[in-house]
């Protein structure tokens, strides 16, 4: 009986292993994954509210997204992500049904159908040189006219039919470097005026027949002082520009072929002016704005060209483009920052003091300044004009304001994530919500009966919905406390705008967000950018009371010698604990594997001059650091010079920055790649937090192979310089790819391999003792993936039992980079269908679970592939024992199984990175994919062998047990009776 139960148990285990769970059923979507759609920071916005029907706003963004948003709720109607080199220069709406986009530096013009986003036509505009680009859709009074669009780009002016994108006429300007600034339309005589600059000191006006592109008139005049920057067109024959020194305003009038300049010193208008002024972009009639060092001055221009300051505002101010509301009337919006709120004023163009609308809107503090404002009007029921304003904030979020309130907001900063880390949630305190969710037994049983029905496919549609809802509720996945399995965590993400978000892994909601003050523009730090974020303090063991915190590293300018910025943020509360500017630059950040007494991780920051700085700056940290002083090595990659260097620490650094936390470094080794034949394109190392379960790998014939596991390995890929461009730019003969595996402590090259006729881009992942990389094979003209596995040969003879018994083995000798181990490598290549944007590998808590590669494909999907497909020991006909080991027969290309797309039928538009984090449960791993969209899911690479699946039916188990107990008693009673009968017989 015991045996039978045992064998049954084993059978059940085997059965549960063979059931696939990586793939999803359609009704499991959203159970453990979430997907969020974003667009990025808005550059242009055009409203479409005239017609009845759905009101929408069409926006283009810095992530090269063109999207149509619902004006009521801010949801996306449709969206297209253009290519990475296809930046949008301008958008417009033509004929009230097409959205026109100009992109790629004024060379690609596309029309999209406004209701559904279908591309209607695409035009390629050719030109001879690079220039600025300009999109102008003339407003036509005649309705049935074939609207033409005027596009300036690549040095020529094109008139394009908006119906089918045909180029009606094209005009090349005679002057070599003519840059169009404005296009002025004259309705009455069918001509257009194009004004612009040649070089920095010549002003040109072209008068062109709008019908056929015939040049009617050309005037030009030169100005010695030169021009700079933006122009502001104040009437149809007058514009204002700054001179090259940015201290004088020039009013240029160009009526009737005469061009005249009029100079006005800014210091005459604004008393305490010094330095440089900037004209704020606007197109208002008779009014423009100049931003000086102290304030923004609004200056009106009379018809004679007289300038007069109408107002000065000292707060940060943004103005919108003018909005025509009725015949000859213009309004514009002005947004100013108050103490805690923003003031939105809508003014009439000709009269500064006429406030059509004056609203005060309270915003939460974490959004920074207003960067852009777009306004739109609507007619109220009492026939007066109402206004709504779309504002773009410093943190890239998008808000719609109407009637003094925020109607909706979009956190579009999340479209540009630059760094991700995870943080644990607080531990559940005793007494809080214990068994609160457990309803009474009847409810619970009923729920499970429903589930049984669901699994038996007997449930009706309503019941299915009820099951779905119940699953979501009962899974407790969005609770704010730590769970037993470690599925609930916080994803801390740093965005390009310098804002930090904490996302809950359960449902993806924003738990807190923080616009880091240290990463905002200041006088001393003009153009700060975030570099990355690191786990600063992960309390466990002795510092349980502390909250975990992250370290955000930034720098003041994009250049490498810019001063660094550090900021420390508590991940529970989202408050900035501390922040300071550094007195040195940050080139490299090395989290060390040591912590101090409060579990603060030691970080080494390397500056541009090669000195190392230790953080946190405490005596204790230095003491910890000094103990490991001689064991700290790192490497640096100089892509431009083709050099990889290894570094170690010297004594304390000397010079003026000498302090206890600064250390000099020494170069230990360097590898110089010949610049004429090799160019470094990719370097990949192992993740420092990866856990390896076992070094030994038992292979089929009871033999053992020892993985060569070292944290100090670096994978380097180089290509011949000719092949460093895109596919199609090099021939197979002139391109080759060389890969190296380098020990970063000694600089020893452990492995080198050449792929002839191959080129990048190379995407690689390094885990345990293997590397998988993706590149393009020009000869076959297909993508290939190669696996390299590294084995330790020096331990290979540890198989002798006698030696083991006698203790003559080296199994306990430490893995060290100081020794020179004998390593062998095995490798194999396979074809892969798709281009790849990112590759990573699943991480689990103990490293026991088998690994899956997560491949972000060009179609913005994430494909999970078992590591077993990348096994150099695969052969065409595996032997029986190899089959038992799980070695798959060799195929020349890797199979793509649609069910193993972890993003199932979703797309992570603009995919840029995949991050995996282990859960506490060994079988599970958390996967976060980011790009323009965000996607999160939980995977079980070897299936959930250590826990029951979510849809495990407890009711069925209970029923079975009850039935068994009943059966036991019935049989017992029966056997009693039978016994009795037998005894009476």
């Amino acid at each position: 009986m015991v045996m039978a139960i045992r064998s049954l148990f084993i059978f059940v285990v085997i059965l549960s292993i063979t059931v696939p769970t990586l793939s999803l059923y359609e009704d499991q979507v959203g159970l453990m994954d979430w997907h969020q759609k974003y667009i990025g920071k808005v550059k242009h916005a055009v409203f479409q509210t005239q017609k009845t029907g759905r009101k929408r706003v069409v926006v283009s963004t810095e992530e090269n997204v063109i999207a149509s948003l619902d004006l009521r709720h801010g949801e996306i109607f449709w969206r297209h992500v253009l290519g990475p080199n296809d930046a949008i220069d301008g958008i417009a709406i033509a004929m009230t049904k097409y959205v026109i986009t100009l992109s790629s530096g004024g060379s690609i013009l596309r029309a999209w159908n406004l209701p559904d986003g279908q591309m209607v036509w695409e035009s390629f505009l050719q030109g001879t040189r690079d220039s600025n680009s300009f999109l102008f859709v003339p407003t036509s009074s005649k309705v049935d006219k074939d609207n033409t669009i005027l596009v300036f780009g690549k040095g020529s002016l094109h008139a394009v039919s908006s119906i089918h994108g045909e180029i009606v006429w094209k005009m090349d300007f005679p002057a070599e470097s003519f840059e169009v600034q404005e296009v002025i339309q004259h309705h009455d005589i069918d001509t257009i005026q194009v004004v612009g600059f040649v070089g920095s000191s010549q002003f040109d006006v072209y008068q062109i027949n709008a019908k056929n592109g015939e040049l009617l008139k050309h005037d030009s005049a030169a100005f010695e002082g030169g021009f700079s920057g933006e122009v502001s067109l104040v009437s149809s024959a007058k514009l204002v520009v700054l001179d090259a020194a940015r201290s004088t305003l020039l009013t240029i009038s160009f009526q009737n072929g005469e061009i005249s300049f009029q100079k006005t010193y800014i210091s005459d208008l604004v008393e305490d002016f010094s330095g440089m002024a900037v004209i704020l972009p606007s197109k208002l009639n008779g009014l423009f704005a100049v931003k000086t060092n102290t304030a923004s001055a609004f200056i009106s221009v009379s018809s004679e060209g007289k300038l007069e300051v109408v107002d000065k505002i000292t707060h940060a101010t943004v103005i919108s483009n003018p909005l025509p509301v009725s015949e000859g009337q213009q309004t514009f919006a002005l947004v100013q920052h108050g103490d805690n709120d923003i003031h939105l004023n809508v003014k009439q163009g000709h009269d500064w003091n006429s406030d059509l609308l004056k609203e005060k809107i309270k915003l939460d503090q974490q959004r920074g300044f207003v960067h852009k404002v777009f306004i739109n009007n609507y007619v109220r029921t009492d026939r007066s004009h109402g206004f709504r304003a779309l504002i773009v904030m410093e943190d890239h979020s998008l808000l719609l304001l109407q009637q003094g309130e925020v109607v909706w907001r979009r956190e579009d900063g999340l479209a540009s994530i630059i760094g991700v880390t995870t943080s644990e949630l607080p531990v559940e305190r005793v007494g809080v919500s214990v068994a609160k969710v457990e309803q009474n037994l009847f409810e619970w049983l009923k729920g499970h009966m429903l589930k049984v029905k669901g699994t038996l496919m007997l449930a009706s549609a309503e019941e299915v919905a009820a099951i779905q809802g119940m699953r979501l509720k009962s899974s407790e996945k969005s609770k704010m406390t730590r769970d037993h399995n470690g599925f609930r965590k916080l994803l801390i993400v740093l965005t390009k705008s310098g804002k930090l978000f904490a996302l809950h892994t359960g449902d993806g909601r924003i738990v807190w967000s923080l616009l880091l003050n240290s990463l905002r523009q200041t006088e001393t730090c003009q153009n700060p950018t975030g570099i990355n974020l690191y786990q600063w303090q992960v309390p466990h063991h002795h510092a349980m009371d502390e909250n975990p915190s992250v370290l955000v590293v930034g720098k003041c300018r994009p250049s490498s010698d810019a001063l660094g910025i550090l900021s420390f943020v508590d991940t529970y509360t989202g408050k900035e604990l501390n922040s300071f500017g550094l007195d040195h630059s940050v080139v490299q950040v090395i989290p060390l594997p040591f912590t101090d007494a409060t579990e603060q991780r030691l970080h080494l920051l390397i500056d541009a001059s090669g000195q190392a700085h230790l953080y946190p700056r405490s005596a204790e940290a230095v003491a910890v650091f000094q103990r490991e002083f001689s064991n700290i090595y790192w490497y640096s990659v100089e892509t431009n010079n083709g050099v990889i260097k290894g570094h170690g620490l010297k004594s304390n650094c000397d010079g003026e920055v000498a302090n206890n936390y600064c250390f000099g470094t020494r170069e230990i080794w360097s590898i110089v790649f010949p610049s004429e034949s090799e160019k470094i394109i990719t370097t990949v190392t192992r993740k420092s937090n990866e856990v390896v379960h076992t070094q030994a790998k038992v292979i089929a014939d009871q033999d053992v192979m020892y993985k060569y596991i070292s944290k100090n390995l670096l994978f380097v890929a180089t290509v011949s310089p000719k092949a460093s461009g895109d596919i199609g730019s090099a021939t197979p003969e002139e391109s080759q790819l060389v890969v190296y595996v380098v020990d970063t402590v000694t600089g020893r090259i452990l492995h080198r391999m050449i792929h002839h006729g191959s080129q990048g881009p190379v995407h690689a992942v390094f885990s345990e003792n293997w590397i998988v990389y993706h590149y393009f094979n020009l000869r076959a003209h297909r993508y290939e993936m190669t696996v390299i596995e590294i084995y330790d040969q020096s331990r290979a003879d540890n198989k002798d039992v006698l030696k083991l018994v006698l203790g003559k083995h080296n199994l306990t000798s430490p893995v060290s980079s100081y020794s020179r181990p004998e390593v062998t490598t095995k490798s194999q290549s396979y074809y892969f269908t798709h281009s790849v944007k990112a590759i990573t590998v699943t991480l689990t808590a103990k490293g026991i679970t088998s690994k899956h590669l997560l491949i972000g494909t060009i179609g913005d999907q994430v494909l999970a592939m078992d590591k077993r497909f990348f096994d150099p020991r695969r052969s065409v006909n595996p032997t029986q024992s190899e089959k038992e080991e799980g070695i798959l027969p060799l195929t020349d290309s890797l199979p793509i199984i649609p069910q193993s797309y972890v993003t199932h039928s979703l797309k992570v538009e603009g995919l840029r990175g995949i991050v995996t984090a282990p859960a506490k449960l060994e079988s599970a791993t958390l996967v976060f994919t980011y790009g323009v969209d965000l996607f999160f899911t939980r995977l079980a690479p070897s299936r959930t062998y250590d826990s029951l699946t979510e849809d495990f039916s407890y009711a069925l188990l209970l029923i079975t047990i009850v039935a068994l107990v009943v059966a036991i008693f019935v049989t017992w009673v029966l056997s009693e009776k039978k016994d009795l009968r037998d005894k009476w017989r």
């Binding site: 049954l8 059940v12 549960s16 696939p20 999803l24 359609e26 009704d27 449709w78 290519g83 080199n85 296809d86 060379s107 559904d116 986003g117 279908q118 591309m119 209607v120 036509w121 695409e122 035009s123 390629f124 050719q126 994108g165 045909e166 180029i167 038996l456 496919m457 895109d726 596919i727 199609g728 730019s729 021939t731 393009f776 003209h781 297909r782 993508y783 269908t833 798709h834 281009s835 944007k837 060009i858 179609g859 999907q861 290309s893 793509i896 649609p898 069910q899 797309y901 199932h904 039928s905 797309k907 188990l957 079975t960 039935a963 068994l964 036991i968 049989t971 017992w972 009693e976 016994d979």
Partner: protein, 211 residues
């Protein structure tokens, strides 16, 4: 309709192409522009996505055509045509990204010596195309399909097996016991008692009485 054209207005191209493809699919034209770029024109045909643009998986407007792993990205016109402009001579790769369909990447050779000659090859099947019309090799099904309810699946489930085993024990074991020689059984029981192995019978209440 494989054709390679020096960049010119798209509409004109389409018109000329559609005329040409009636004559011969491999014919192509080139216009005498002095720029070094060529144009690649082609078409994506997805059966099931009709003129209305709504298929089982999505819209034709969400299909992207990608040149050289992301160098250029373009979209489909309502009739499924697409074009890349300013492409230098050489061997290029075109991929189609469409949710729900599997497309093979296409190798496209743009010849500098014979302007207007283009060769397209499906790299997955190593099949050359006479015209650049891309069709999905297969539809992709991203979800497992739930098996409809049948009694076997219940029986095969761990619970079902447990039940089945118990039923077996309930009905077959007594039969086995009956067939046993009572003397032999007694001996076996005695042996067991001597060894002190707890038997199932002794664990049941009243087991002692029954013996």
């Amino acid at each position: 309709m494989a054709s390679i054209v020096r960049s010119k207005p798209v509409i004109l191209l389409l018109f000329v192409q559609s005329c040409l493809c009636l004559l011969s699919p491999s014919l192509a034209i080139s216009s005498g522009s002095s720029l070094d770029g060529y144009a690649i024109n082609g078409r994506v045909k997805i059966p099931g996505i009709g003129a209305k643009g709504l298929g089982s998986h999505g819209k034709i407007s969400n299909v992207k055509v990608i040149l050289n792993g992301g160098q250029h990205v373009t979209f489909l016109r309502p009739d499924g045509y697409f074009s890349f402009h300013n492409v230098p001579a050489g061997t290029h790769l075109i991929e189609v990204a469409a949710i729900g369909y599997f497309f093979s990447p296409v190798r496209v050779d743009v010849s500098a010596r014979f302007p207007g000659k283009v060769q397209a090859t499906l790299t997955e099947k190593r099949r050359s195309l006479s015209e650049l019309v891309l069709e999905p090799l297969k539809e992709e099904q991203y979800y497992e399909i739930r098996e409809p309810f049948n009694i076997m699946s219940v029986v095969k489930s761990p619970m079902g097996l447990m039940m089945g085993f118990m039923v077996l024990v309930m009905f077959v074991m007594p039969k086995l016991m009956e067939n046993m020689d009572p003397e032999e059984m007694k001996r076996a029981q005695e042996e067991m008692r001597n060894q002190g192995v707890p038997s199932l019978a002794s664990m049941l209440p009243g087991a002692g009485r029954s013996n």
